[in-house]
């Protein structure tokens, strides 16, 4: 009897000790199967770094204080009357002689914010798992696969989640666990009946301080030319629903074009400069090698997850007493990463055919037989030259237009005032729109 009692008491104490720790992950767990409806992910927002537009002209405000004073003195001497003097303050000056087009059109920094959510219906629907408030996403893997071959991932700058640096605070809770074990055994010794009632009482009170700030997420990621993979694993009590931010660099396959700047269109008095005195600077720029600009560049977003469904013990915050079922899931969807305005360069030319597939642009023909399209990196540069061109041809209707050492051509023929007159829509047009 004593043996039975001692063994029972031992079991009771061992049971209490085993239950009084929260170091267990769960009480029981089972792999239940696949359910693709329990979680979802979407691209909440994407932001591309703006292409830097270059300041091509200098004004009075771009000068240093000393140069401004000097400039004002000179202009005051040169234009003694009040109106001309005030106009001279708005003059634009030649930028630095070797001022190349520095804008990078093929490398972009892309920030993607993904939003991960899970199903919240806490009711028992037919065939679906009974969800509880203690459920959480324990693991998720987000994969982004680029659709287009002309763009690729080149670098990974940052990957964070909303939990990354959040310190939630401390949570203390205590729990008393106890049990009574008693036995009543009739004993007969030498015809004397007696009841022996041994009992054991075991109680353990344990105070437990859990620091919620110790919660953390295991982040993992990998990147190749076309695929970006992010993995998250939440440790205890950490639900992975929320936002994930990924900052990556992308690069387009490149094509080359000449971009030209034309200086010295007007002299300091605002008088038109003859073609031979124009200064042309052409530089090669890399632009995305895309045959047909697309309204959007997309990717496939794949979500794989493990859902921790609590079927027992959901009332308590600690998870050690939970009875859980694990569900895996897989979802795929198409997301839009870039719009055409994000990557199609805003180059401008002079010619006809705006908004159509058949654009005819003025080109620069050299004496050696070479010929290049006349393209400008900004509308204002193209508009300034177009204004100059029309003004010059208005006074020299039958002459061939030229700029510096180049002859201006429109199609097969040299550009003349008559050609402009016969093409009513001749003017500044966007090259790629």
């Amino acid at each position: 009897m004593n043996k039975v009692f001692i063994v029972s008491a031992g079991f009771a104490i061992a049971f209490l000790i085993s239950c009084s720790t929260s170091l267990k992950r769960y009480r029981s767990a089972s792999q239940t199967g696949n359910d693709n409806t329990l979680a979802d992910a979407d691209l909440f927002s994407s932001r591309i770094s703006a292409t830097n537009s270059l300041q091509t002209k200098k004004t009075l405000l771009d000068l240093t204080a000393e140069a401004q004073a000097q400039f004002i003195r000179i202009m005051n001497t040169r234009y003694p009357d009040n109106g001309s003097f005030l106009n001279s303050l708005y003059f634009e000056f030649l930028p630095a002689a070797n001022d190349p087009v520095q804008t990078d059109y093929i490398k972009k920094d892309l920030r993607m914010v993904f939003s991960v959510s899970r199903k919240r219906g806490y009711h028992d629907s037919k065939g679906a798992p009974l969800l509880t408030e203690a459920d959480r996403l324990e693991y998720l893997k987000l994969t982004v696969v680029l659709d287009e071959p002309f763009v690729k991932f080149t670098g990974w700058n940052m990957y964070t989640t909303e939990y990354g640096s959040v310190e939630i605070g401390d949570v203390s809770f205590s729990k008393s666990l106890g049990t009574d074990l008693s036995a009543s055994i009739p004993v007969k010794i030498n015809s004397i009946k007696s009841d022996l009632s041994p009992s054991v009482n075991a109680a353990i009170s344990r105070k437990e301080d859990q620091q919620v700030k110790y919660r953390y997420i295991k982040l993992n990621g990998k990147l190749n030319d076309t695929v970006l993979v992010m993995e998250e694993e939440g440790t205890r009590e950490t639900d992975l629903t929320g936002n994930i931010i990924a900052d990556v660099s992308i690069r387009f396959r490149s094509a080359q074009e000449y971009v030209t700047r034309i200086y010295n269109l007007y002299d300091s008095a605002g008088k038109i400069t003859p073609p031979g005195k124009l200064i042309l600077k052409s530089s090669i720029v890399e632009i995305p090698d895309v045959e047909f600009p697309q309204k959007e560049i997309g990717a496939k977003l794949i979500l794989d997850y493990v859902y921790r469904n609590v079927t027992g013990g959901s009332k308590t915050f600690p998870e050690w007493d939970d009875r859980i079922k694990y569900y895996t899931g897989h979802r795929e969807k198409h997301i839009s990463l870039l719009r055409d305005a994000d990557y199609v360069p805003a180059f401008f030319g002079i010619g006809t055919g705006q908004g159509t597939a058949k654009k005819e642009l003025v080109s620069l023909a050299g004496r050696d037989g070479s010929s290049y399209r006349l393209m400008f990196a900004s509308y204002s540069e193209a508009a300034d030259f177009c204004k100059w061109l029309k003004e010059w041809l208005a006074g020299n209707e039958d002459k061939q237009a030229s700029a510096g050492i180049y002859i201006l051509k429109f199609g097969n023929a040299p550009l003349t005032g008559k050609i402009i007159e016969s093409n009513r829509l001749f003017g500044v047009i966007p090259c790629f729109w």
């Binding site: 490149s254 074009e257 045959e291 047909f292 058949k358 070479s370 199609g411 790629f432």
Partner: protein, 67 residues
């Protein structure tokens, strides 16, 4: 006449003109050139993949047109 045409951002550009069809894949051409070209009445003969002098490491799709 034969015309070697590339296309970037929806804009066609003729980079070379020749009396004979001398164009071949992998050959190097100056893709910055822009010769007068109007595809009206011209026939697309074939697609080849050329290299450009400004970036010879990449192959670019080009179309040969003829009158």
């Amino acid at each position: 006449m034969y015309y070697l045409v590339i296309q970037t951002m929806g804009l066609k550009k003729c980079i070379d003109v020749s009396n004979e069809n001398v164009y071949e894949s992998e050959h190097l051409y100056d893709c910055l050139q822009s010769k007068p070209f109007d595809d009206e009445g011209k026939k697309a003969l074939s697609v080849i993949f050329i290299r450009c002098t400004s970036a010879p490491e990449f192959l670019r799709r080009a179309i040969i047109y003829s009158d």
